[in-house]
Amino acid sequence: MTKKFVRVKDWFPPGHVRTPYFLRGKIGMIERQLGAFENPEQRAYRQKADKLQLLRVRFTMAEIWGKNAEIPTDTLDAEIYEHWLEPIDAT
C-alpha cells in the first residue's frame, strides 16, 4: 500500500468534537482504516448519527511540535473521522 497523506482540517466548530486541538491543520499519514463508526458530534446530542469512516493517522512529532519536538522522528497516532480529513498530494 502506498503511503497516503492527509491534512486535518483547521476547523474550530462549537460542540462535542473528538479531534484534538493540537492536531488541527497538521499533516499525517494514514496508518490504517478502522471501518465506519457513528459520528460522536451527532451522538453526543442524541441525534441520529451518520456512520463515518474512522482512520488512524500517524503524525511525526516534528510535524506537530516543530522545533520544540523532543525527538522529531517519534510519532503520535490518533483516530480521526473522515469528515475532518482532506487529501493532499504527496510531495
Binding site: 473528538r18 479531534t19 484534538p20 493540537f22 478502522l34 463508526f37 460522536p40 474512522l54 488512524r56 500517524r58 506537530i64 511540535w65 520544540n68 523532543e70 525527538i71 522522528t73 517519534d74 510519532t75 503520535l76 497516532d77 490518533a78 483516530e79 480521526i80 473521522y81
Partner: protein, 212 residues
C-alpha cells in the same frame, strides 16, 4: 512535640483529612435522583446496581496480563491478537464491549505508549479502572509532547534510536501495549509469565518485570 496545634494533626503528626461537609454538587444530586427514579420505576434494582459496581471494581490488570502471557507463549495467538485484538481476546473469554481493541507490539526498536488526551479512555475490560495519573491533565498534556521526559519520570529511559510511538485514544479504539518479553524467561509457562506483566507495562510507561 512535632506539632502544637492538636486540632489539625492526628497523634502521629499527620493532618486530619477534612470531612466532606459541603453540599452535593448539581451532578451528584442528579445522579442520586436518576438512580432513585430508576429503582422506583422498576427499571433497575438496588442489588443490580451494587452488583454492577462490584463487577466494575473487580476487573483488574490480571486479565490483560493473561492475554500478554499467551501472546508471548504462542506466536499464532500473537499474530491473531495484533491483527484483530477484539476477536483474539474473545477467544480467551474477554470482551471489548462496544469498543474495538488495538494491540501495539513493543520491539527492541519501537516503544508504544497510550494516552487519552480528551478524557480517560482506557481498556477497562482488560485492565480495570485507570490509575489516577492517567486521567490527570499533567500526563495527558505532557506525554504527547515530551513522551521521553514523562517515561523517564516513570523510570523508563529509552535509547534515542528506539522509536517512541504515542497513541491517543481519541475515538472508538482502545489500546493495549504488548510489552517485550523479559530475558531469562525461556522455560516459563503462561501462568508464571503473567505474573511479570504489570499494569504500567500494558499502558506503555514501563517494561514487564524481570523474573526473580
Amino acid at each position: 512535640m512535632p506539632h502544637d496545634d492538636n486540632d489539625h494533626f492526628s497523634p502521629s503528626g499527620h493532618p486530619y483529612q477534612p470531612d466532606q461537609d459541603h453540599p452535593l454538587t448539581k451532578w451528584q444530586a442528579m445522579e442520586i435522583a436518576m438512580r432513585e427514579l430508576m429503582v422506583e420505576k422498576g427499571i433497575l434494582t438496588r442489588k443490580e446496581i451494587t452488583e454492577t459496581v462490584e463487577a466494575m471494581d473487580s476487573r483488574s490488570p490480571a486479565d490483560g496480563a493473561k492475554v500478554v502471557a499467551r501472546a508471548w507463549s504462542d506466536s499464532d495467538y500473537k499474530a491473531r491478537l495484533l491483527a484483530d485484538g477484539s476477536a483474539a481476546i474473545n477467544e480467551m473469554g474477554f470482551h471489548a464491549d462496544a469498543m474495538r481493541l488495538v494491540v501495539l507490539e513493543n520491539t527492541p526498536t519501537e516503544h508504544n505508549v497510550v494516552v487519552c488526551t480528551l478524557c480517560s479512555c482506557y481498556p477497562r475490560n482488560l485492565l480495570g479502572l485507570p490509575p489516577d495519573w492517567y486521567k490527570q491533565r499533567a500526563y495527558r498534556s505532557r506525554v504527547v509532547k515530551n513522551p521521553r521526559a514523562v517515561l523517564s519520570e516513570f523510570g523508563l529511559i529509552l535509547p534515542a534510536k528506539t522509536r517512541v510511538r504515542v497513541h491517543d485514544s481519541t475515538a472508538d479504539m482502545r489500546y493495549l501495549v504488548l510489552p517485550t518479553r523479559p530475558k531469562g524467561t525461556d522455560g516459563m509457562n503462561e501462568t508464571a509469565l503473567a505474573t511479570l506483566v504489570n499494569r504500567d507495562s500494558m499502558i506503555g510507561v514501563a517494561q514487564a518485570s524481570d523474573p526473580k
